[in-house]
Symmetry: C2
Subunit: 171 residues, 2 copies
């Protein structure tokens, strides 16, 4: 199986984390990660543009083939949900403009893949991402979370491929 490059995105109005990995269906390879920070003194439109420009540059530079994004946790106050929604709209738009497949994963699916159970704190996720991708160095929790989302997509797509093989579908 050829390597596929995946970008995971953890959207937020203040910081949007991103993490890029390669996978051949079995092994995972760290490519790069970081976060796009918006300037809180700017207007909302200008901040959304900063997220758009930052993610657009990352996609142009690293050319991932597929994207994965966390399904947002909506049990927060309405104002925070709206802010997150606005940032999430941009995080979905950028890969859509490049024609990428975009997969969405629930937060507990990400935790289950990365730390083995559906609950756990940010520190555990960070430690397991570091263990799965020893070459990774992250500047922020958002970048680690974004790598965890990319890892979840890598596992999910290998698993679907194995199922397809078991059912006698195309390799």
């Amino acid at each position: 199986m050829r390597d596929i490059r995946i970008i995971g995105i953890d959207p937020g109005l203040r910081r949007t984390g991103w993490g890029v990995i390669d996978t051949d269906g079995v092994r995972l390879g760290f490519v790069a990660c970081g976060s796009v920070v918006s300037d809180y003194v700017e207007s909302l439109g200008a901040r959304l543009r900063q997220i758009f420009d930052g993610l657009t540059q990352v996609l142009a530079r690293l050319e991932p083939a597929e994207a994965a994004i966390e399904q947002t946790f909506v049990n927060r106050d309405a104002s925070a949900t709206l802010k997150l929604g606005q940032a999430r709209g941009i995080a979905l738009l950028v890969p859509a403009l490049s024609g990428l497949l975009i997969a969405e994963y629930a937060p507990n699916a990400v935790k289950k893949t990365v730390i083995g159970v559906g609950h756990g704190d940010k520190g555990q996720i960070r430690a397991m991402v570091k263990c799965l991708l020893p070459r990774a160095s992250f500047d922020s929790t958002d970048a680690a979370d974004a790598l965890a989302i990319a890892i979840t997509h890598a596992h999910s797509r290998s698993w679907r491929r194995l199922e397809a093989l078991a059912l006698g579908a195309a390799p």
Copy 2:
């Protein structure tokens, strides 16, 4: 005072209304209005891209100088707020990418400007928009709402200009 062209945007994941007017600070002139509809069978990323492409085309064609958008009503369920937030992120991004000034108005400010009081139904807004812009014909409530937002911005900026004149600031 030179004419200024204003676009009002009423964002929504299914339908995003837009309305463009010209104003010289006193009179209002209808330019065009419509709505960008996203295809609900498509993925979320593809739908946000449809909104992005539709609004980008409107801005390229009509070249408004300023934009106005309704401040979203967040007293709805979290899932609806998130959907609206995602569409609203795109509605703010498109004018921001063109460097437009973007003003935000609360729903009751729009009603107060257009129908004279801070409450009223969609039918009243539609009737008053038709009265203020006799040449306007709208295909949808969203387009009428978007024109109401543009009218609110036209009134607000004339009022601010009058205040500035009264205070002896630049004309």
